[in-house]
């Protein structure tokens, strides 16, 4: 069975087509990505496609995610690739979706109801779903939720101490995100370390170029995670503040006359690394900036604050897991590509049995998993690229397995 997977980021759209034979045998057929989707700037937007050993790159205006989906579909149809099912990543499934679901008419309506839960993310996936239904009217579609993996959180980890009427009205609880990536890690790391996936304890740092989170895994299940009811809690991200005193919001409204939208915009789009450094939301720029006299001070500050917050979360999950940890995992672009972050974070975790080997760390390859702990470390430290699209494909395979 051929499965097309769409994975929309805030300014990109990845898509892959897999040949799914069974859960253990899946072949990648096509891989593509639209870059700088809807970004107003000096640099061009473009599409990359890789199919049958041919890689091509085309500069083309991509005003929004629907346009990106149309470009993908055109390429797929031009090359006469047949598709049996389409899978979508959907960030916030709220209370409605605790697992992957086929998008029939009812579920389509439920997805629509989830839009306000993640106003920056859900509409992107939803627009791609709408467009894909038009482009492939006969092909069944399904959605895989980024929040589903964390449905195993215990009440003490998901409860917020707010009045019950508010909890009920806004379905307010810790949901957590990056669940698709975490389930990939929970599948691959046990294989890699030869540990039973049902008993493995891990701390997973998913450090993406946009969002970032830390998750505590006990016995293969999520028990706590740094993102909360929304994806703007926890770690410092590229332009998102992460944890903040709620009083700051009222303070800004009172003293600066900001409206609700302005504050929300400030915390989501002008904060994080961008707010701290004042010159870039990109950690690579910031690490380079630490060597540049003009940016040095602010770059250093942004880097140190980022690392400090990450360290705090890892420490708290060490306590949550009672010190019984098999692996500390770094994944996604920043997690895999930045040895300096890993080195600084691990430098104050010796008390938890986490000791990094600096040479192995610096030499870790970016395209495959690697072990970077020192021989005296009690905990394995793993860098591993994530593959959300493969995970979405496997979920689809599972959905259809029982049906045909």
């Amino acid at each position: 069975m051929r499965i097309l997977v769409f994975n929309g980021g805030s300014s990109s759209l990845s898509y892959k087509i897999f040949d799914w034979h069974n859960a253990l045998q899946v072949d990648l057929i096509l891989k593509g990505k639209a870059y700088r989707v809807g970004v107003k700037g000096t640099r061009d937007s473009y599409v990359e496609n890789c199919f049958q050993g041919r890689a091509e790159r085309k500069v083309v205006p991509i005003p929004d995610h629907s346009a990106a989906a149309i470009l993908a579909a055109t390429y797929i149809k031009q090359n006469k690739i047949h598709v049996d099912a389409i899978g979508h990543r959907f960030v916030h499934g709220g209370e409605y979706f605790k697992r992957a679901a086929v998008i029939d008419r009812d579920n389509f309506k439920r997805l629509e109801r989830c839009l306000p839960l993640a106003p920056l993310h859900n509409p992107i996936s939803f627009n791609v779903i709408k467009e894909a239904r038009k482009l492939f009217p006969r092909v069944p579609q399904y959605a895989v939720m980024d929040s589903a993996f964390h449905s195993t959180l215990p009440p003490k980890a998901y409860a917020y101490p707010l009045p019950e009427r508010i909890i009920r009205r806004y379905k307010y609880r810790r949901y957590g995100f990056h669940g698709i990536s975490c389930s990939y890690i929970c599948r691959r790391v046990p294989e890699f370390l030869k540990i039973n996936p049902r008993t493995i304890n891990m701390i997973i740092c998913h450090l993406g170029t946009g969002g970032a989170s830390v998750t505590a895994v006990r016995g293969g299940c999520s028990v706590d995670t740094s993102m909360g009811a929304s994806p703007n809690t926890g770690l410092i991200m590229s332009t998102r503040s992460g944890d903040i005193d709620p009083m700051v919001i009222f303070h800004l409204m009172r003293t600066r006359g900001y409206g609700s939208e302005e504050v929300e915009d400030l915390l989501n789009k002008k904060s994080g690394l961008l707010g701290l450094s004042g010159f870039s939301s990109d950690i690579t720029d910031i690490i380079d900036g630490m060597k540049d006299k003009r940016f040095q001070k602010k770059a250093r500050l942004a880097f140190d604050t980022y690392v400090h917050r990450l360290k705090n979360y890892i420490g708290s999950y060490v306590a949550v897991l009672g010190g019984r940890i098999d692996a500390l995992v770094f994944t996604d672009d920043i997690g895999v590509h930045n040895p300096l972050i890993r080195e600084k974070v691990c430098s104050s975790l010796h008390w938890a049995g986490i000791v990094l080997d600096r040479r192995r760390n610096r030499r870790a390859p970016m395209n495959q998993p690697a072990l970077i702990q020192s021989s005296c470390s009690e905990v394995a430290i793993v860098t591993m690229p994530t593959d959300e699209e493969l995970m979405i494909c496997l979920e689809g395979g599972r959905l259809w397995e029982g049906r045909t």
Binding site: A157, A159, Y172, M237, H251, L276, D304, N312, G315, S316
Partner: protein, 243 residues
């Protein structure tokens, strides 16, 4: 109880621990972590140092009571603190919400609820009051036996435990964990229970809850010491000690 509040102890927090990740100009205008009750944290640490004649390098102070907060102190200098810009941040208390996900505030504003009203909900109707209802000071919660109060206590302990882990990472290890509170048996027992969760760090708990004004909760052989100081009826520390 010793009068707490804002003081200058935490003005020496390193910038990376003090800043929220918001535009730097706002931080410079005072939107940053100020911490609280530095005088008490300092007072407690001085008492232990004087009593034992020992200098503890890495210390986590846990002020436990009507408003609970934690501080990480290295070589006498603050490194981290749970209280933030206001008392809403950090641990929740009798009626305050503590650190939460702010998205709910924007949802409520979107529904036309005023900022003042939301602030009132978060500072006067949340915390233990929201989780357990009824009589809900920390002492009441710890005495009550109903399931809601038990759950509230569970959430509270869980959050303290997470802060202990987080601050141990801030310090790169810990030598002394110092509970400071009014010495009711319930609060002492809470500190004792929490100590039990730290065995993995090398904390060895005593067999029974000890009493006394300065009570060691760990055995002599424990590599990390845990202590409970009763601050009820203590003379107020001099204003100078906040510096």
């Amino acid at each position: 109880m010793i009068p707490g509040g804002q003081d200058r102890f935490f003005s020496r927090l390193p910038e990376f621990a003090r800043l929220y990740a918001i535009p730097y100009e706002l931080s410079q205008q005072g939107v940053q972590k100020h911490g609280r009750d530095g005088v008490i944290h300092r007072w407690a640490l001085e008492r232990i140092t004087n009593k034992t004649g020992q200098k503890f390098h890495k210390v986590i102070g846990i002020l436990i009571g009507e408003h609970t907060n934690l501080a990480a102190i290295r070589a006498g200098q603050p490194i981290d603190v749970s209280d933030g810009f206001s008392r809403l941040d950090g641990l929740f208390s009798e009626t305050r919400c503590g650190a939460i996900d702010s998205s709910v505030i924007f949802q409520m504003l979107g529904d036309g609820i005023s900022g003042e009203r939301i602030e009132e909900v978060l500072s006067q109707e949340s915390g233990f009051k929201a989780l357990a209802g009824g009589e809900c000071t920390l002492n009441h919660i710890l005495q009550r036996r109903d399931s809601k109060a038990k759950f509230a206590k569970e959430v509270f302990c869980y959050q303290i435990l997470k802060y202990i882990g987080a601050f141990t990472a801030s310090l790169g290890g810990v030598d002394l964990i110092l509970f400071v509170g009014e010495g009711s048996l319930q609060i002492r027992r809470l500190a004792f229970d929490l100590t039990g969760h730290l065995r993995f760090m090398g904390v060895k708990k005593k067999a029974a809850v000890p009493s006394g004004e300065i009570a060691w909760l760990t055995t002599r052989g424990s590599t990390i010491k845990v202590c409970f100081i009763n601050c009820l009826g203590q003379p107020a520390p001099s204003p100078r000690s906040g510096r």
